[in-house]
């Protein structure tokens, strides 16, 4: 059966999202980079900045030199996550088979949905209109017989719109395009290689044999050869989910004081703990992600010897993890705590258990707290340490 793959792309997604609320950013060169150092690399660049010669991955100081009027945003993972969620909700109406790639990019597999929604091109047009109308975001949509071509097609248009590639004409479509459209060539090293070897258009790569390509690209050669012919058999794969409990918090005011941060962390632990116990689960691994004021994120992981679900035990483990992870002095903007590797709470006990189990009193206290919180809300009863000393 002929495949219908859509690629939805909103260029410079984080910047476009910021522009929705901040009109002053429109029409000006904008870039996103963590603000921790002049050597920080740009993560995202608006079209206006690109026109000035600024590229993603360029160090900040160089970008500033090229374009002194560059407006700089620090990464806002909260906003991006919200935006992505909204995109998924809109596209979810058309197919259950979707695959988000990077923020602002999404594959949809509409194969077999023609009877329901009409040809892919129509769905693409409708989707684009909806995104513009509902989210105020301008995107372009590529429609083709495979992921590779639909993605290239989406990037082919200069302006927002729909680009539908005739099945069978994939190779001739990409032949005259610059090699950078091929996935895997975008990254700096390989693009330099292609520049050095003077391979500029896809057809020039397509004309080379695999052994020739192997000289330059090693193991990547067969894949590159396939891609340069416009072939891509990979399916659209919805993300797999593993069970986890997560809580996150974006601080009202950026903070550096350990006492206050631990108080906030305690609130995250309470949230996670309650959810774990409601599910009858306990966690064997904690992942703490810290977002600093300058957009840098740090992640720390702690594998636990015994599975935990009790607030105080969890908090002790999280506190240790916090000190291990939070090594910079810069103020924190947000924290996210994930409890995964879940196991049943009242599972099989270890025959030769060495870890001290909780006293019945503590268990009872936790149970009562949970009951109160479930009934009257989290704010009813709190641990003192979650209030902080400020």
């Amino acid at each position: 059966m002929e495949r219908d793959v859509l690629h939805l792309s909103i260029p410079a997604f984080p910047i476009e999202l910021a522009r929705v609320s901040d009109l002053s950013l429109r029409g000006r060169p904008v870039a996103v980079a963590p603000g921790n150092s002049e050597r920080a690399l740009l993560q995202c660049v608006s079209a206006e900045a690109r026109a000035e010669g600024i590229l993603e991955g360029m160090p900040l100081f160089r970008a500033r030199r090229i374009c002194p009027s560059l407006v700089l945003l620090t990464p806002d993972p909260e906003l991006v996550a919200k935006g992505m969620q909204a995109l998924l909700e809109l596209s979810g109406q058309y197919t259950p088979v979707w695959e988000p790639t990077t923020p602002g990019r999404l594959f949809l597999d509409l194969t077999g949905g023609r009877m329901l929604f009409g040809p892919g091109r129509d769905v693409a047009a409708r989707l684009e209109r909806e995104i513009d109308g509902r989210l105020r975001l301008a995107g372009s949509v590529g429609v083709a017989g495979n992921k590779l071509i639909s993605r290239i097609a989406a990037g082919y248009l200069r302006r927002p719109g729909v680009c539908d590639i005739l099945r069978g004409s994939e190779r001739s479509f990409i032949a005259p395009l610059p090699v950078a459209v091929l996935p895997g060539v975008g990254n700096a090293r390989e693009s330099v290689l292609l520049q050095d070897l003077n391979l500029r258009r896809v057809e020039e790569v397509a004309a080379l044999s695999v052994p020739q390509l192997r000289l330059a690209f090693g193991p990547f050669a067969p894949l590159l050869h396939q891609r340069s012919q416009g072939i891509d058999p990979s399916p659209v794969q919805p993300p797999r989910r593993s069970p986890e409990v997560a809580e996150e918090s974006f601080l009202g005011q950026e903070e550096t004081d350990d006492a206050l941060l631990l108080a906030e962390l305690c609130r995250l632990v309470e949230g996670c703990g309650l959810r774990l116990r409601q599910l009858g689960q306990a966690t064997r691994r904690l992942v703490l992600t810290l977002t600093y004021a300058d957009g840098v994120t740090e992640q720390g992981t702690a594998s636990l010897d015994t599975s935990l679900s009790h607030d105080l035990a969890l908090f002790a483990a999280v506190e240790e993890l916090y000190y291990k992870t939070c090594r910079r002095r810069v103020r924190l903007r947000g924290m996210r705590l994930v409890c995964d590797r879940l196991t049943a709470r009242s599972g099989q006990l270890d025959l030769f258990a060495t870890a001290p189990t909780l006293s019945p009193h503590a268990e009872a206290l936790q149970d009562s707290l949970d009951q109160l919180r479930t009934k009257y809300g989290m704010a009813t009863v709190r641990w003192g340490r979650s209030i902080g000393n400020a």
């Binding site: 090229i66 070897l197 300058d294 103020r331």
Partner: protein
């Protein structure tokens, strides 16, 4: 009974610990009615000479001490006498230099003349076993007094009360915590209590302290008793000279006399009366002052390189000239020996010698090999906080992100002191209309207090100290990161303590001269004798200097100096009367900040404007400089002539002026100057005017002998530039570190009519090479090329001859593929293969290395050996881009040529013809060369920028209004479109810019 004295006191010279300045502490002690005060900074005597002075001013008797702190143990050590001081210096040196340092063992080794105070049983126990003499248990409120008291009873030792005074006010504790957080690279909430002092470690009055010791009043009395027993009349003023080869005084003097006479014959060919008389006069003075050893030591060091430049006031000495330490003939150029040594001068003048920058380390090695680390050490720089660093460090402690910190610190000049930051942050045109948050206000408030707080030592660039016996007797010694021994004092304190320093400095221009001379000899066979070289006898050199075409020449290449030279000589009716060298000396001295008005006046007078000095009394003093004070020693002379200062007072004034700060002393001298002048009947207005001239010397000025020394080096560079242009420009670029970028020097070379040749695998060597009318780019310019790889390929070329093809090159030289790729992209193989074959070479390189990589494991289904594709040639833009990428700049042509078409439409005035448009508004094209931001009269920033187009280099001025509007646009690597008015002064045309745009981006709104 003696009164209580604080015996444990920390100042800002406790690195990363102390908070209050010596002046504050001595003042506070005085207010409390103390007559004595000890300073016990941590692990060092970092501020002792300053302390002695501050204590004297406050009227407190100083006691020298230190707190020795190791990770495990601590003790306060106070010096009872000279022996104790020497022992303390040795102990502290050991603490810093010796691995496995053990405090109790060290104390027992160096115990003579020291009082030991501690509350640490592991220190007191072992010492007590030996003897209980001068051993005390330290009792301090807030530091587990009861345990210490129990320890005293157990060991049967007397107690002594201290307050471990660190703070003067309770608010200082906040600053202390910030200082600690900066030191430990942590944040306030994560500072552990044991990492900071206690909140009560404050200097309190004896009465308040007595409240803590109702149970052992003897502790207070003992403090007074110890203080009474310590030496307080310290005198560091005696000069400590090095000893030359263990000679006795008379022997050394005889040796010096002999060498000086020999040298005179060498310099002059024979000794006439003038020389003889001058030599005798100098030698007598040297003998009386005990300088003979010092001269011999310096001579021996200077002899290590054939090309040196002795500078500073020593250039006024004929003995130094005869010994070959300096190279300017002091008799010929009227340099008076009294400027170097005179009977009234109490402090030792030091001799500075410049060596070629790449030979300096070897010279230092020689000095240490000769005198050993026992007798020699380097002078330190004491690194503290300045405005920007204080703000940045405090802001980091408060968790501010870097970008935000930068936004604020950018407003502050790098020269700002910490206490000026707040004012500097307000009202900078780059950031108008912003309100600082509360956090930032707190940061500013705290960082203002951070001034002069010692963080760590670093190595002074060249100050070497040699003593006759043991350096660790005089000052504690640490080890620098480079492994050299370094004393704990910076140059001012070293001088105050009588230590004579020899400055061994690196100078790039001496290396330039060396390399250019060597290249000239190789290419043309012309050899120049450095010692007897008179560059100004050459007419071409004279013309070059007068025309101001001195880019690349030592010390006179900055745009300001080049303009000055042009103004001095272009169309000057008096040109024939003026001695070129004398005027060069004036020119290189008068260029200094805050002297702009004087410079124009000087040019006018030189060109024949009638002038009178400010007062007839100054006529003699200022005659040689057109009635304008130019040289540093003229401060002394003016003060003597006009206000009746003694030679000593005049010299003090000169020193204070040239050393910045010292506001208070300066005010005293000003008063003295005004009063003295009025007594001689000089009108107040004249005195004020002269005083303002004197002040313009602040921070940056030279004496005439120094300038003459430098001017001679300038002339030598100019000679080489005029006579061996290719060799000279190649040496300038190769030695790096000139005032301009390599790109600017290459443009200059083109303007001089030289051809720039691209790097070539068979022609280039590592540095740039000049020959005839060509300059060949060296392999050093290939960015990222490993020095080792370049050396390997050069070695192989020398051994096996030129490379005949790329393939052969790969087989002969084992080179990293990345380096080979760089060479290809830099065009090094264009001479062997055509430029069009560069992509093909890249394929060859891949195949060559693929072949190697594949020898380990193969594919299951062996592929046939790949035939190499035949790629098309790079287009022109790619070639240019590769050039910029690998060489860091365009070498094949001027970047402005790439914009030829746009430029033609704009019809700009070429820079070479700027002079024809004086007083009119024109459009010009400029490629940014260099810029200098200065403060205009009203403190607003403005900038002098030098641009070039393909015809010439020219200077443009951005006055405050234009600077405010366009400073954000001046981002360097682009061609600029400039509109403004041409102004001319004494034959030099400059552009006063009123509008700036980009050539490549089309005109933008300003």
């Amino acid at each position: 009974m003696s009164a209580f004295t604080h015996l444990h006191v920390h100042s800002t010279f406790s690195p990363q610990w102390g908070v209050r300045s010596l002046e504050d502490i001595c003042g506070a002690a005085r207010v409390m009615g103390m007559t004595r005060l000890a300073l016990t900074d941590r692990n060092g005597l970092y501020g002792i000479p300053h302390f002695l002075e501050a204590a004297r001013e406050a009227g407190v008797a100083p006691i020298i001490g230190a707190e020795a702190v190791t990770p495990e143990q601590r003790a306060v050590l106070l010096t009872r006498d000279e022996t104790g001081y020497a022992n303390l210096c040795r102990l502290l040196s050991d603490l810093h230099c010796r691995t496995g340092f053990d405090l109790p063992r060290a104390i027992s080794e160096y115990r003579g003349g020291l009082f030991v105070l501690s509350d640490d049983p592991s220190v007191l126990g072992p010492l007590r076993r030996h003897s209980d003499e001068d051993l005390y248990v330290e009792l301090s409120p807030g530091h587990q007094m009861h345990q210490a008291l129990a320890l005293a009873r157990e060991l049967r030792l007397p107690t002594v009360a201290t307050s471990r005074a660190l703070l003067l006010d309770p608010e200082d504790f906040e600053l202390h915590r910030v200082v600690r957080a900066i030191a430990l690279n942590t944040k306030l909430s994560r500072l552990r209590p044991e990492e900071t002092a206690k909140e009560g470690d404050q200097m309190v009055s004896p009465q308040r302290l007595a409240d803590f010791f109702p149970h052992c009043p003897e502790a207070l009395e003992n403090a007074g008793r110890i203080a009474g027993a310590c030496k307080t009349d310290w005198d560091f003023s005696e000069t400590i000279f090095p000893a030359f080869r263990g000679m006795a005084e008379a022997e050394a003097f005889a040796e010096l006399s002999r060498r000086a006479l020999e040298g005179a014959i060498w310099r002059y060919g024979g000794i006439d009366e003038t020389v003889e008389a001058r030599l005798q006069k100098e030698l007598v003075m040297i003998r009386d002052k005990g300088f003979a050893h010092y001269f011999l030591v310096v001579e021996e060091i200077a002899r290590q390189s054939p090309r040196t430049c002795g500078r500073g006031s020593a250039a006024a000495s004929l003995v130094a000239y005869c010994l070959g330490i300096t190279h300017v003939d002091p008799i010929k150029h009227n340099l008076f020996f009294e400027r170097f040594l005179n009977p009234g001068r109490v402090d030792p003048p030091d001799i500075d010698i410049d060596f070629p920058w790449d030979e300096r380390d070897a010279v230092l090695d020689f000095a240490f090999a000769r005198y050993g680390a026992r007798r020699a050490a380097m002078v330190a720089n004491q690194i503290g906080f300045k405005g920007r660093s204080a703000l940045r460090e405090v802001a980091k402690v408060y968790g501010m992100p870097d970008g935000e910190i930068k936004a604020v610190t950018e407003r502050i000049s790098g020269y700002c002191k910490a206490d000026q930051t707040a004012r500097a942050v307000e009202g900078h045109p780059l950031f108008q209309g912003e309100k600082l948050s509360e956090d930032w206000q707190a940061i500013l408030r705290i960082s203002q207090k951070l001034s002069g707080h010692l963080r760590h030592l670093s190595l002074h660039c060249g100050g070497l100290i040699v003593v006759p016996d043991e350096i660790r007797r005089y000052v504690p010694v640490e080890v620098s990161a480079k492994g050299l021994p370094v004393i704990q004092w910076e140059k001012d304190q070293a001088e105050a303590a009588g230590l004579v320093k020899i400055d061994i400095l690196g100078n790039r221009s001496l290396a330039v001269i060396r390399d250019a001379m060597a290249a000239a000899k190789k290419n043309t066979g012309v050899e120049i004798d450095y010692a007897s070289w008179c560059p100004l006898e050459d007419e071409r050199t004279r013309q070059l200097l007068c025309s101001g075409e001195t880019m690349g020449c030592f010390y006179i290449e900055s745009p300001a100096t080049r303009q000055l030279l042009k103004r001095m000589w272009t169309g000057n009716p008096r040109a024939a009367e003026c001695d070129l060298f004398e005027h060069l000396v004036i020119a290189s001295s008068i260029i200094r900040p805050a002297a702009n008005a004087f410079i124009l006046e000087f040019v006018a007078r030189m060109r024949g404007k009638a002038w009178r000095s400010l007062h007839p009394l100054l006529d003699d003093v200022l005659a040689e400089t057109y009635g304008i004070a130019v040289y540093q020693e003229q401060i002394t002379q003016m003060a003597m002539a006009l206000a009746g200062f003694s030679a000593f007072e005049g010299d003090q004034l000169r020193k204070i002026i040239s050393k910045k700060h010292k506001e208070k002393k300066l005010a005293d001298y000003r008063q003295m100057f005004l009063v003295g002048g009025q007594q001689r009947g000089v009108p107040v207005e004249t005195l004020e005017e002269v005083w303002s001239q004197i002040l313009s010397f602040a921070g940056y000025s030279f004496c005439k002998p120094h300038s003459a020394s430098y001017a001679l080096v300038s002339c030598k560079s100019a000679f080489l530039k005029a006579n061996h242009p290719a060799e000279f420009m190649a040496a300038v670029i190769s030695n790096q570190g000139g005032y301009y970028s390599p790109f600017a020097y290459l443009s200059e070379a083109r303007r001089m009519g030289l051809t720039i040749l691209p790097p070539d695998i068979n022609e280039s060597v590592w540095p740039y090479a000049g020959e005839g009318r060509t300059v060949r780019v060296g392999l050093m310019q290939v960015e990222g090329l490993a020095r080792k790889a370049a050396e390997a390929l050069l070695r192989e070329r020398e051994k096996g001859g030129s490379y005949s093809s790329f393939d052969e090159f790969l087989r002969r030289v084992a080179i990293d593929p990345a380096d080979a790729k760089r060479l290809v992209k830099a065009g090094c193989f264009d001479g062997l293969d055509k430029k069009e074959r560069r992509p093909a070479l890249q394929w060859e390189l891949l195949r060559f290395h693929h072949h190697f990589d594949r020898q380990g494991s193969g594919l299951l289904f062996e592929e046939p050996a790949a035939e190499l594709p035949a790629p098309s040639a790079y287009d022109d833009r790619t070639v240019l881009r590769q050039e910029v990428e690998t060489l860091g700049m365009l070498i094949s042509c001027h970047p402005l040529l790439l914009h030829r078409r746009e430029l033609a439409k704009l019809k700009p005035v070429p820079a070479a013809r700027m002079g024809e448009w004086v007083g009119r508004y024109i459009t010009m094209i400029g490629w940014w060369v260099t810029g200098k931001t200065v403060q205009a009269r009203d403190d607003r920033p403005m900038e002098f920028v030098t641009f070039e187009d393909t015809t010439a280099i020219f200077d443009a001025t951005f006055f405050p209004q234009a600077y405010e509007r366009f400073c954000r646009k001046l981002s360097r690597s682009r061609p600029y479109l400039l509109k403004g008015k041409v102004e001319e002064e004494y034959g030099v045309a400059t552009l006063t810019v009123e509008w700036v745009g980009f050539v490549d981006g089309g005109p933008e709104k300003g």
